[in-house]
Amino acid sequence: MKTLTCKLALITALAAGPAFAEDITINVWAGGSNDADSYRLDNISIAADLLEREAAIRGEELNITVEGKRDFDGWDGFKQAVTLSAEAGNAPQIVVTSHLDIAPWASAGYIVPVEDYVDLDAWPLSNVYSNLMEIAQYDDMQWGVPQDAESRPFFFWKETFLKLGHTEEDIAAMPARVRAGEYTLRDMLADATKAVEMGLVEEGYGFYPRVSNGPDYAQFYQSFGGELIDPETGKLLFDRTAMTEMYQFFVDAVDAKVLRKNHIGTDWDQWYSEVATGKAAFWHGGTWHYGRYTGKEGNEDFFGSIGFTLIPAGNDAGRANTITHPLVYLITNQEDDRVEEIAAQLVSIASEPRLNTLHAIQSSHLAIGKAESGVDLYSNNRWAAEATEVLLPYANAQPNHPSYGAFSEAMFKGLEAAWTGVQTPEQAVAEVEAQLSVTLGDDLIIR
């Protein structure tokens, strides 16, 4: 009952009314972040400033030093660094990471529930969308606070789409048709094949998906009727049919010459530059891509040139969908409870609508709370507004399950094997199934 005794001690200390100067260092590590995401760290600094001022008014002297780091060797390097430093007992106090890490890190004891330190019913956390808050829950506890929201739309190049014989009205109707399952991935494949045949795009540029592993590929699994988790038992779900059909879809795309066999591993820079300038007919990405397309890649007419929808359904069993993969602020287990508490308060303050809006707009992510629509910076941003409307209501998240990482990894490796022609989709699925049933055992339901 460590926590309880600690807390009681804290209360006693508080009752005595201490007025000593307190120096606290807060380290923040953010994974998968670049310059545009600087507010993941900066907001904590701003929050620290606010907290210091609050303390000063109460007559206490609180000095918080915030140090940040976000240049890791990709997500792999970031997670390795966090895990090993947590093991070594010198983890950064706050980490910004995928919500998928909550399950394994919670069970390893690296992180503490944020709900131990902050009032979830009070401002500003009460303002955060409850479905987003749920994504940061695990085992009925609120471990983290969503840091941003996003979703992963399907994009198409409007000019190419028109040349394929569709009309402006068709474009306008696309989001709704996709949502209703009237325009499927198979329709897309037909269009893409046509685009290549008509010479509108080069071979291999009909469909131009993400070049590395990511939550995006779980969307295609869902498009073909796969579900990631069984709501009844809370176990991961491996849907053989959906998986096979999804792999087959990519293989068909390669066969139809709309997708390059060696597409995986394409340089991201090249990829961004190509999709932003209409070299590809269809592709998918993230809401934050808006910033890159209109910024570095210089697409000045985003809304005139690019359309976006949910990821279309693949077949009748599946559904149009999009995955939101919010990053969350997590508080790591520290020796000193007080540090955890300060860290949690900083996270809470950083979730203020005005602060979060800074991040949302700078990095082209979506709001985490209702009140952000009331912030001019946010409401004046067309992309934020439209994307929130078209995508967010239909977004689902990947499950917080300790073994989901292994599941997702295996799924992608299998896809890669089928896609590059190393194995047939059936072989690849069989191998993934074999591997997962061995590694996950009871945690997995195979359907």
Binding site: K7, I11, T83, A103, N262, I264, T266, S403, T420
Partner: protein, 433 residues
């Protein structure tokens, strides 16, 4: 113990300590870990005891009685006499009375509900969040989600819920968050199809690179041997650089050569060749580039060693061969190569080991792609244990992979030991005192 022995001990001990700490201990640890299910979720340094909501589903399977499960499930937060008394001592009678009056005998499912109840205090409200949190803890009955550092703490908490001693044992097992000993890693290695692919990849990688390495190294040494000094020196410098250039930089040069917009593509584009990623286009491309990257580095080691053993051959032998009318090729065939047997053997065995176990260049270039085609055993160990996109670090399984390499390493170096003239090596020091 005479002076010489003392000096010997003093001289060897710093190195010995370093070697024990960073070689011997890790080897032993690797062996131990390979028999555990250690992963991110279990942590490395032992575990604690925690029952979670999701554990409840597994409990009946683990042999816990339904009765106990109900007790665990139903606990939550409750206004019991003890908790109210505790609350009274901490927060005063006024508050305790108001609470007891407002929520007589109430129970709450979650802490959030409990906190909401505490907010209802009107006469002397608990204003700070921190106080409410602490107060809510006093009413906690449930042990779900609570972490206990020791087994005893956990057992006490369980018995406080009136759960029978018979159920405590299986409960403890489920609740333990740390790693346990198992042989499942080796079963897994045996069963996973990927294992065999990695093994085959490793064989392909090592043998191809080795042949390339040794042949090229030998060729470089021989050709520069026959050339005038200045020219030879230039070529030696060109070929020595890959060895001393930092791998990150060296591989970046190759990336630049091979990417879609890179040198090769740009050079061939005007000839109508499609721009492709020459490193990741297919398995063949991947292997070719990998062999080249590693081969160029390895060749330089061969070149240096072969060159120095070439220089060690007395010049008179070449004069004699020339007098005997041997051409350059015959000199190589009959004078040089027979004397190069030893260095070639040395390089071959040395490089076999280092190729088997080093993955730095692969990690930096293809990282196993495309499609796991170039994932070699050592890289798989690294990926499994320390670096993957999901952040799911399986130390136990990774250690099992590593253990295989450690064993191969020991066997190979034992063979390697035979190449050395060991008896001469351990010849007794000639000063005896």
């Amino acid at each position: 113990m005479n002076k010489q022995k003392l000096l010997g001990a003093a001289f060897i001990s710093p190195a010995l300590i370093a070697v024990i700490v960073f070689f011997l201990v890790p080897v032993i640890l690797t062996v131990v870990f390979s028999f555990t299910n250690m992963s991110t979720s279990t942590g490395i340094l032992g575990g604690e005891y925690q029952l979670t909501q999701s554990d409840l589903d597994d409990l009946s399977g683990a042999g816990v009685s339904d009765e106990a499960i109900t007790l665990l499930q139903g606990a939550g937060y409750a206004m019991t006499d003890e908790s109210l008394t505790a609350f009274e001592t901490e927060f005063g009678k006024t508050r305790a009375d108001e609470l007891a009056q407002k929520f007589p005998d109430a129970t709450f499912d979650s802490r959030r509900d409990m906190e909401r109840a505490l907010k209802e205090l009107r006469t002397d409200p608990l204003r700070s969040t921190r106080e409410r949190k602490a107060a809510a803890e006093l009413f906690r009955q449930s042990i779900l989600g609570q972490r206990y550092e020791t087994k005893d703490d956990f057992a006490n908490a369980v018995s406080a819920l009136n759960i029978s001693a018979a159920d405590t044992q299986p409960l403890t097992e489920v609740a333990y968050t740390g790693w346990t000993f198992t042989t499942q890693n080796f079963e897994l290695l045996w069963q996973l199809p990927a294992t065999w692919r990695y093994a085959i990849n490793t064989v392909i990688y090592v043998s191809l690179t080795l042949v390339f390495n040794v042949t090229l190294g030998l060729f470089l040494a021989l050709s520069t041997f026959f050339l005038p000094d200045r020219i030879a020196q230039t070529f030696r410098t060109i070929w020595f650089l890959p060895r001393i250039l930092p791998p990150v930089l060296y591989v970046m040069m190759w990336q630049w050569m091979t990417w879609d917009q890179g040198f090769i593509s740009s050079l061939l584009a005007p000839l109508g060749v499609d721009r492709i990623d020459w490193m990741r286009h297919s398995a063949v491309h991947g292997w070719t580039v990998l062999v080249l990257i590693n081969g160029f580095v390895g060749a330089s080691l061969g070149m240096i060693l072969f060159s120095s053993s070439l220089r060690a051959i007395p010049q008179t032998q070449f004069y004699a061969a020339q007098v005997d009318g041997a051409g350059r090729w015959q000199q190589i065939r009959y004078v040089i190569l027979p004397q190069m047997r030893w260095p070639i053997l040395f390089i071959t065995s040395y490089q076999t080991l280092s190729l088997l176990t080093s993955f730095e260049y692969i990690l930096l270039s293809t990282d196993g792609g495309p499609g796991r085609q170039t994932e070699v055993w050592a890289l798989a160990a690294y990926h499994t244990a320390l670096s993957n996109y999901g952040g799911n670090l399986e130390y136990g399984l990774g250690a099992a992979y590593a253990l295989a390499l450690v064993i191969i390493g020991i066997i190979l170096s034992a063979i390697y030991l035979r190449f050395f003239n060991f008896r001469e090596l351990v010849a007794k020091p000639r000063i005896e005192q």
